[in-house]
């Protein structure tokens, strides 16, 4: 037992605002786990929203738990302290249900590590019936839950708002009547619930999936849940802490999904159809944020596409509300939005050209030309914003050295563009390039692509860094090829990658050694281009997407054709 760790937890609680403190008596205790550190989890709106959803039920007590950071883990090992919940510092195995919020594939090994630290067998087949019920949700799970299938008792696929209530309802009926098995067998009747034990994958000789058969009672396909009318309920952060990555920001969800359908991205598909909240419905949340003197973090895949954005910005300007924008599409930078950003004191705007060359951007169905990007910089400068952060990827399908050089070239040209204005105004900001290896995602048009080799990725990242390190006012940050490799493995793997998930926290593990030791070939999941008709581990999820629609987009990348949606290519 480490008193120090308990004290840290109590200090954290004391600094928080909005946490629930409930008495346990008779209530269903649920531990809601974010499998990364506190600072990161507390900036995750989905996680915080589920915390609110569960605690709204009078008969549920939901407490949060996080993955301890390196120092905390060492302290736990030294003192024999098990992971515990934040609110009442109870060990995880004291909870009836442990719910995991999965946003990021590289957190999967943290789940297994946390469970084993808590004295709970991570692999489902080793757990006894008195172990807590393990459930999971979050976007990573409805992209592809299979790498975690050997751990979880059930998944709630899709948006949690309605499905979670229905699962709880089923659970209440069975609770205390000693029939966990009965509950687990019955719960697939709730749309969106996936019970991995009820499915039996078979493999071809070449290692690909041959079939994925449901056992009796389980549906052949699990429908992803989604909320029809977002206006009925707000989704906003209700717990605040100065320790969070986004401290001082009041997160409010404006919309879900995206109508743009860039070929590398799955947002437009797994949050389909795109939905927005009415401004009127948002105002109470925004008022709360303004009242607490927080910046408003408007959460939306493409905020610039929000139909009432100008009205929202005007309203904010009138009230003196400050906003904090996520990355913006450079073709949606309206005057109102830029005025509002400026008035909010936001000095940096984040844009995502994703690739350096026109050709590559057309491949991605994000067809801005260089001139449009440069003009966006002009527009920012006109509105007094002199710093920009730019997202780029390397290792995109069909990319060559010229495309990488185009990133460098574009960064330099943007700097010149800013310099021109800076001469008059004597102000010069910074251009930050955030470059990441491209990881193909399930439910995107690029789900058939293999990922580029680590050597290629590292070389291209290095090339960009080297070329720009001496340029004044330009900074480069980038991800690491080795983490991207794991992300691809856990993102597109099937149940057979479980042994890798079980290896332990990502940063504590010597992955080179792990991969040398294993008989399973991880490259099979990471680097292989998929056959057109290949059955994917995630195909059992019914997102309402004909595979043909995605494949058509995949093929159209080659000719750099615009996306399939109306307007761009219907010419009707």
């Amino acid at each position: 037992m480490s008193n120090r760790l308990y004290r840290v937890a109590r200090d954290r609680l004391a600094r928080e605002e909005g946490a629930f403190q409930k008495d346990w008596g008779g209530r269903i205790p649920v531990a809601l786990v974010y499998p990364n550190v506190y600072r990161v989890g507390m900036a995750n709106l989905g996680f915080l929203a589920v915390y609110g959803l569960l605690n709204r039920h009078p008969d549920v007590v939901c407490e949060r738990a996080f993955f301890p950071d390196g120092e905390e883990r060492r302290e736990m090992a030294r003192t024999g302290t098990r992971p515990f919940s934040l609110e009442t510092q109870k060990p995880l195995d004291a909870f009836e249900i442990i719910a995991f919020s999965l946003s990021y594939e590289n957190d999967y090994p943290n789940v297994a590590a946390l469970l084993s630290m808590a004295g709970i067998r991570a692999e489902r087949r080793h757990r006894t019936r008195d172990a807590p019920l393990l459930i999971a949700g979050g976007p990573a799970s409805f992209l592809n839950p299979e790498p975690m299938a050997g751990i979880m008792d059930l998944f709630v696929l899709g948006e949690a708002e309605e499905a979670l209530e229905e699962v709880l309802e089923q659970y209440r009926k069975r609770r205390g009547v000693d029939s966990r098995e009965a509950f687990v067998c019955e719960v697939p009747s709730v749309e969106g619930v996936y019970v991995p034990a009820l499915y039996e994958p078979q493999y071809e000789e070449d290692g690909t999936l041959a079939s994925f058969a449901p056992k009796k009672g389980a549906p052949e396909k699990v429908q992803r849940r989604w909320v029809r009318d977002l206006n009925r309920r707000t989704t906003e952060a209700t717990v605040f802490t100065p320790e969070a990555e986004l401290a001082g920001i009041h997160l409010v969800e404006v919309g879900r999904g995206c109508s743009r359908h860039c070929r590398f991205c799955s947002t437009g598909f797994i949050y389909r159809p795109v939905r927005y909240r009415n401004l009127e419905a948002l105002k109470p949340s925004l008022e709360t944020g303004i009242g607490k003197d927080r910046r408003l973090g408007l959460v939306c895949a493409s905020l610039g596409d929000y139909p009432e954005l100008d009205a929202l910005c005007e309203w904010l300007l009138e009230r003196g509300g400050k906003l904090s924008a996520p990355s913006l599409r450079l073709d949606t930078l309206s005057d109102r939005l830029l005025d509002a950003l400026k008035a909010s004191g936001q000095k940096t705007v984040t844009l995502a050209p994703e690739a350096g060359s026109d050709r590559m951007r057309r491949t991605l169905n994000k067809a801005f030309d260089d001139e449009e990007i440069l003009r966006a910089a002009d527009r920012l400068a006109e509105h007094g914003i002199f710093s920009m952060r730019l997202y780029f990827m390397v290792g995109l399908p069909g990319e060559d050295e010229k495309d990488v050089e185009a990133i460098i070239d574009l960064a330099k040209r943007l700097r010149h563009r800013f310099l021109r204005v800076a001469k008059d105004t004597r102000r010069m900001g910074e251009i930050t390039l955030s470059v990441n290896p491209f990881v193909p995602k399930p439910w995107s048009a690029f789900q058939w692509c293999g990922m580029a080799e680590q050597g290629v990725l590292s070389d291209r990242l290095k090339k960009i860094r080297r070329a720009l390190q001496r340029e004044p006012n330009i900074h480069v940050t980038h991800g690491l090829a080795k983490w991207a490799y794991l992300q691809a493995l856990f993102g597109r793997g099937d149940r057979r990658v479980l042994p890798f998930v079980m290896e332990g926290a990502v940063e504590d593990t010597d992955w080179k050694k792990v991969f040398r030791r294993t008989t399973l070939n991880p490259d099979f999941f990471v680097h292989r281009d998929r056959r057109r008709d290949e059955l994917f581990p995630w195909d059992f999820i019914d997102h309402g997407i004909p595979k043909e629609a995605l494949y058509r987009e995949y093929e159209r990348r080659v000719s750099c054709s615009p996306g399939t949606m109306p307007e761009e290519s219907t010419r009707c």
Binding site: A549, R552, T564
Partner: protein, 203 residues
């Protein structure tokens, strides 16, 4: 932002007279349809199919009498403005330049002008003008949103997109009905009126 207020009808390509196989005569609707069929291999067929897709939707949405008749005419004539788009742009394989896109986009305004010059009833002209408005207000020519767009135009919009996507064009292959319905459903509320889409998909 995409320049939605480009100089209407003033770009140079529109004023080119030679090379046009068609000059507008005092003509009836039938003449116009005939001209459309002979101007472009698919313009006539497209008009008829769009019209027949519109009718069941319109009935379900409660349109009747004169409104229904006007919608029928408007749906037949919605692309009449394409008579002023040079064939090499209309069927250009590959990508359009910004200039060419503007020329194509002008067809809804041009269509309205043609119909007004023939003194067709106002609702027909309005529908043709607004059949490329988007429900989220990012369409053209006026950037109308939601209910500001005439219902008739919102209906034509869905039928028009469906038919275009399910037909082979020189610049892209046809999509299956299933895939097309998928895209239309996914862009409900963005491009299309959700009520019209529901109505269309439940046919």
């Amino acid at each position: 932002m995409f320049p939605r207020d480009h100089a209407r009808g003033k770009h140079p390509l529109l004023n080119v007279q030679d090379g046009y196989p068609f000059t507008l005569q005092q003509g009836s609707v039938v003449d116009l349809l005939g001209s459309m069929s002979s101007y472009n291999h698919d313009l006539g067929g497209h008009s008829e199919r769009v019209s027949s897709l519109c009718m069941p939707m319109a009935l379900r949405m409660g349109l009747a009498g004169k409104r229904l008749l006007y919608l029928q005419l408007a749906s037949l004539l919605h692309d009449v403005g394409k008579l002023d788009v040079p064939p090499h742009i209309l069927d250009k394989p590959g990508m359009l330049s910004l200039q060419e896109t503007l020329v194509i986009q002008d067809h809804s305004l041009r269509g309205e002008q043609i119909l007004r010059s023939l003194s067709l009833p106002d609702p027909i002209c309005q529908t043709v003008r607004s059949h490329h408005e988007r429900f989220d207000g990012r369409g053209y020519p006026d950037g109308l949103a939601g209910e500001e767009i005439p219902l008739e135009a919102r209906i034509v919009r869905v039928a028009d997109a469906y038919d275009a996507m399910t037909e082979d064009r020189p610049y892209r292959a046809a999509m299956t009905p299933e895939v097309t319905r998928f895209w239309i459903a996914g862009l409900s509320g963005v491009y299309f009126d959700p009520e019209v889409v529901d109505c269309f998909l439940s046919e």
